[in-house]
């Protein structure tokens, strides 16, 4: 079993290690030398200096996983790999690409005799140890080729991965998964904020979160994370109240609008992230000024 991995960030490196530890031979590459060095010397792992070298070291019908940020990085990698690949090779985009890009890429590559799998991969940094959840889109034959690797990567070899449907279905499922994640995180965070705002009841939010892990309706992996976060640092000292967003939330909200299927909570969670990034500030300033003009209300001044 031999597989190429392009992109050795947190997820890519974890997947490379999980495959290598299970006995697969992994040829990997990352533009960052530091990322490559972190894996160098591990059993069953070889680093290639560039994509041409990576392709050259893979024999027979290649399977190459691309684990890069959505957008230009994936587009560039696919474009660079295209002339290096041969008919029958399989490219697996394991990042969070927009499902419509994946449908387009699968179509374009199939015209060149290449297979393309859009693979939504969830599990974060714990995936290395506990396995990932894989949502795969592509032809049945492509999935059959990738299945041995999916079984290793998955948290459960039978049930931890799914052939969701044709090209795009894997990344669509992952997009929705991430949209749900936005909403669940926001709900949990709002709840803990309301608990912390009631000091007279003296509730230890870390211990409460730990208690909720046993038998409550809100028990979940995200609650497990809240419990350990709040037990270690209940005041969340040192953490700036800014949450990045990286595509999936926006796409889910767009999908809601295009399909005309309401997603008020997921969209609100996305908007809350935008606000946390300071993107409500202009509107807030204008509202403050309007209140001043019509009612003489004081305006807070910038320091």
């Amino acid at each position: 079993m031999e597989i190429g991995i392009v992109g050795l960030g947190r997820m890519g490196a974890g997947m490379a290690r999980r495959l290598a530890r299970a006995g697969a031979h992994v040829i990997c590459h990352d533009r960052s030398e530091a990322a490559q060095k972190a894996l160098a010397g591990e059993a069953n792992v070889d680093c290639a200096e560039n994509l041409a070298a990576l392709c050259a070291r893979l024999a027979g019908e290649r399977v190459i996983v691309i684990m890069l940020p959505a957008g230009a990085p994936v587009e560039d990698a696919v474009r660079e790999l295209l002339p290096l690949c041969s008919s029958g090779d399989t490219l697996v985009d394991a990042g969070n690409s927009y499902y419509r890009d994946s449908m387009r890429r699968a179509m374009a590559l199939s015209q060149q005799g290449l297979r393309y799998i859009d693979a939504g991969v969830s599990g974060g940094v714990h995936g290395l140890e506990h396995g990932y959840c894989l949502m795969l889109g592509g032809t049945p034959r492509s999935i059959e080729i990738f299945e041995p690797f999916a079984r290793i990567l998955a948290a459960d070899p039978e049930r931890g991965w799914l052939h969701c449907g044709p090209s795009g279905a894997g990344h669509y499922a992952k997009m929705i998964h991430n949209g749900i994640e936005y909403g669940m995180m926001q709900a949990l965070a709002e709840g803990f904020a309301l608990l912390a705002a009631k000091p007279e009841l003296d509730i230890d939010t870390g211990r409460l979160a730990q208690t909720w892990r046993h038998g409550s309706v809100v028990r979940s992996w995200l609650l497990d994370l809240c419990a350990s976060i709040l037990e270690e640092n209940e005041e969340l000292a040192g953490v700036a109240p800014v949450i990045d967003d990286s595509g999936s939330g926006r796409w889910t909200a767009l999908e809601s609008i295009e399909l005309g299927v309401p997603a008020p909570v997921i969209t609100t969670a996305l908007m809350a992230r935008f606000s946390s990034q300071g993107r409500s500030d202009r509107a807030r300033k204008l509202i403050a000024m309007m209140r001043q003009r019509f009612g003489g209300h004081a305006v807070h001044k910038t320091p």
Copy 2:
């Protein structure tokens, strides 16, 4: 070990059985004869024909759990129990009472020498088998008295229950728990609606939910429930799109407003429930009429 239980609905009956199966002697009462009959004859369970009989059968310092709907049913039960109880007895309100009512009741009862515990209990119908999650508010001595029962009821004898703080803290924690539950449910449901609205990708939402249970970030008990619901009835045939609400969501939203701590997702989930109950209909009709008046847009007619 002896305990009284007032109210044998789904939760009360489950708690009575879990205590009785663990060897506690349970004296229980419900206004409904059918509810009493369902438990009659089970080992360690005795049914009392009324609250006076229930109190008469409990020896020494009594512990009586009230498991009734919030509001008048709890108020009436406490009022009826008051003259039947003696100094040192402990009443445990295990329902979803508003935490301010619980603070008031604890204060009133303490003036009569009675102990009062506000107990938030989560776990639903699965609690009988797997145990409940208990959030307790009250004095340290009251909690000490109830602890042996809490250890039996809890999903984990050590970590499945928590003395959250003084009177009110248990029901405050449960209210927030339920608010989070509103948000998590809405996020999951929106996600599955967006999946179902994309038939061309042919995603089996039941199987996808099962897959997400293994290694994904959204894994949770609510997702487990979605998986079994969607596998059994993916079209949700026969289910009307109406969701009741029973207090906790409203109180959480009120708390957000009173504390000035934003809870946009929990509040939106609550509003979505109101809409499902037809409570947006008047506003919708007026909007339809305004569009007709200014733009000549067609109005859908009632059948």
